[in-house]
Amino acid sequence: MSETNQPNGSFSSANSSPVGSQAHNDWSRQFAFTTKLEEVVRWGRRNSLWPLAYGTACCGIELMSVMGPKYDLARFGAEVVRFSPRQSDLLIVAGTITEKMAPILLRIYRQMLEPKYVISMGVCASSGGFYRAYHVLQGIDRIIPVDVFIPGCPPTPEAVLDGVMLLQKMIKDGHPRPWKKNWRPPYEC
């Protein structure tokens, strides 16, 4: 591309220049832009995450606050909360996952359509938290791949927003996700 960046002429004059010429290129930039298809798709995906709020415990209540009027996750394009895994692409696991719940979480995750992302909200979902106990799964990453872990017990709504923004950035940059790529279901259910 040449250094000369002349203001374009009128529509008719530019249109008359031959296709492929500098003048024609400059003219076309007035109403169009070029990009990669991949990037357009990423742009769309990151700004319309449809979360499945898998709220099981205290974090579920705090997640309601995130969705509520004050913090308003809708500002980040993630307001369409679906309770059906078929209609959502972001699984927010908010709360303790017990051993009894684990097969259900795995099934829900497998029912989601690609592309799908997982946010683990709070320390219980991330590692079992302070429940080092006989009936608590010590982190959901033992059964499903997790993209973003949000610490806190429960995390503040600001932290959850930060987590969602981090995921958006990962989608934007096309961050590699080996945890997802190499994941195999631990058991059939």
């Binding site: 415990a57 209540i61 309601m64 009027p69 006989y134 009936h135 608590v136």
Partner: protein, 563 residues
């Protein structure tokens, strides 16, 4: 022995079929206890219920003493709803032995017996559905036994198929091919988080229903046994996480009872303020999500804006929003910041108007009224038999409120009334909750205007940590801190039961201390647990959509349901 117990002993001697000579009567920490042989349990409890008016079954739990030949204690707590008198009956059973079920005396003992079976392996003869309730079906062993390691997880890889309770002539695991089985939850669009309901439908009418719980069983009681007294407080936050300070208060009050300490008036006032604010907060969630379940999404957004304001008040006091851990054994965590009470008064002024708005939004809404009024009512006698407490019981017309029956922290000096419903239908439950919010605002206002002078905590060095300034500023403070952390808070050996009126009803803690730094056994009596066990019977014969409305109105909080 107290005079009461002596009278009781005399009366019991008149009854030929009781072996009163083998009974052990004791009175400690203000609680009455009778230890009886296990053959007498049903007849004694029946007598206490019918004749002595201990008509309300509060709690049943097990305690494990592995070194004893009769290894387990089965502990029953009863309440006299007329005068608020309580009594504890204990019996001992050995490994593999059983005690007769009291399910025919109180329907509400059903799940409590199942829980004792699940946690300890105690058998209850005559219980029709003695299967696991909190742990998963692949679980081996009984986790609350002292020889079960707290962090020994057992993974679960399947889910149970649809099943129901056994009934005469109808086994629970056989489905009737005439009807449509339907599974709702966990994680279902129409069901709250971790609840699982299974129904058999004839058209839209529910023929049989059942609920499976334990999806949030995170071992609170085992965690309490493995942590020092002060460190249990954060775990209590996560019982009923919609109104966390109330659980802190209930637990601290129980430990204070066994320690025999009386907290300063200012601490009591702050506790009442926090309890009532939490009650408002809890009812906001109950009403808001109840509306969502009926399709009224806008109410949720309105209500959450109010809830955020209470969060702000909590944040100013301690920095946390939801799980606040505001209480300490012996008082509260710190002095409120300047202007805190004025802010609460300001909040009360707004809240008065806003409660009217909530009321108009829902109770004046034609669809809401049609979906709730006259729907699946629960009669007062059934509610009592199931062990209902709190707004659910009051909606059925029973004015039982521990703040009035056995007042604590000076509730007796405050001017407030206990709203009751008339029919016990879903509509009444919401009316009662909304009215309770008004009463709570009234209480908060009265307390805030008369905050007593003085300290916010007791200063007993063996109970309360010294302020940080002392710890870093002088050697004595440092040593006190060190001693309390290393040696721990050690209450005398013994047992107490104490209850407070939480947002959902009677929240009781049964604490057994062996004199060490951690509770030997801490049993929570959660209000939801007793209420939710009635669900399959309440919705039977109703419409499937009404069952969803019923779950919402019961305000089942999985944290305290499953613990």
């Amino acid at each position: 022995m107290s005079a009461d117990l002596a009278t009781l002993q005399g009366e019991l001697r008149q009854i030929p079929f009781l072996q009163v000579d083998r009974y052990l009567f004791s009175h400690a920490f203000g609680d009455k206890t009778v230890v009886v042989p296990k053959e007498d349990i049903v007849s004694l409890l029946g007598y206490l219920k019918e004749t002595k008016k201990y008509d309300f079954f509060v709690d049943l739990c097990g305690v494990d003493y592995p070194t004893r030949p009769q290894r387990f204690d089965v502990v029953y707590h009863l309440l006299n709803t007329t005068n608020g008198d309580r009594i504890r009956i204990k019996t001992q059973v050995g490994e593999g032995e059983g005690v007769d079920s009291i399910i025919n005396l109180w329907r509400g003992a059903d799940w409590f017996e199942r829980e004792a079976y699940d946690m300890f392996g105690i058998r209850f003869n005559g219980h029709p559905n003695l299967r696991r309730i909190l742990t998963h079906h692949q679980f081996k062993g009984h986790p609350l036994r002292k020889d079960y390691e707290a962090n020994q997880q057992q993974s679960c890889t399947t889910t149970l198929p649809i099943h129901f309770d056994n009934e005469p002539g109808q086994p629970g695991n056989e489905l009737n091919p005439k009807y449509v089985p339907l599974n709702i939850g966990p994680s279902h669009p129409a069901m709250h988080g971790t609840l699982r309901v299974m129904v058999e439908l004839d058209g839209e009418t529910i023929v049989r229903a059942n609920c499976e719980i334990g999806y949030l069983h995170r071992c609170f009681e085992k965690m309490a046994e493995t942590h020092p007294y002060q460190q249990v407080i954060p775990y209590t936050d996560r019982l009923n996480y919609c109104s966390a300070p109330m659980n802190n208060i209930g637990y601290c009050k129980t430990v204070e009872k066994i320690l025999g300490v009386d907290i300063p008036p200012k601490a009591k006032a702050i506790r009442i303020i926090l309890a009532e604010l939490s009650r408002i907060m809890d009812h906001i969630i109950a009403i808001g999500t109840g509306g969502v379940d009926l399709g009224a999404l806008s109410a949720f957004f309105h209500l959450f804006a109010y809830r955020e304001r209470i969060y702000e008040i909590f944040e100013k006091l301690c920095g946390a929003r939801l799980t606040v851990s505001l209480m300490r054994i012996g008082g509260v965590v710190n002095e409120p910041p300047p202007g805190w009470y004025d802010e609460i008064l300001e909040f009360c002024r707004h809240m008065d108007k806003e409660i009217d708005e909530i009321s108009r939004l829902l109770l004046d809404n034609k669809i809401f009224v049609k979906r709730t009024r006259g729907v699946l009512p629960v009669k007062a006698q059934d509610a009592l038999a199931w062990g209902y407490t709190g707004p659910m019981l009051r909606a059925s017309g029973v004015p039982l409120d521990l703040r009035k029956l056995t007042p604590y922290y000076g509730y007796e000096q405050l001017d407030f009334s206990v709203p009751v419903g008339s029919t016990g239908d879903i509509y009444d439950r919401y009316v009662v909750r909304i009215e309770e919010m008004r009463q709570s605002v009234k209480i908060v206002r009265q307390v805030c205007q008369n905050i007593p002078e003085g300290d916010y905590t007791i200063r007993d060095k063996s109970i309360v940590l010294p302020p940080k300034k002392e710890v870093y500023g002088n050697i004595e403070g440092l040593m006190n801190h060190f001693m309390l952390i290393m040696k721990g808070l050690r209450p005398p050996a013994g047992e107490v039961y104490d209850a407070t009126e939480s947002a959902n009803g009677e929240l009781g803690f049964y604490l057994v201390s062996d004199g060490s730094a951690a509770p030997y056994r801490l049993k929570v009596r959660p209000p939801c647990f007793a209420i939710y066990q009635s669900f399959p019977y309440v919705v039977r014969g109703g419409q499937i959509a009404d069952a969803i409305a019923t779950v919402a109105s019961m305000n089942i909080i999985a944290g305290e349901l499953d613990r």
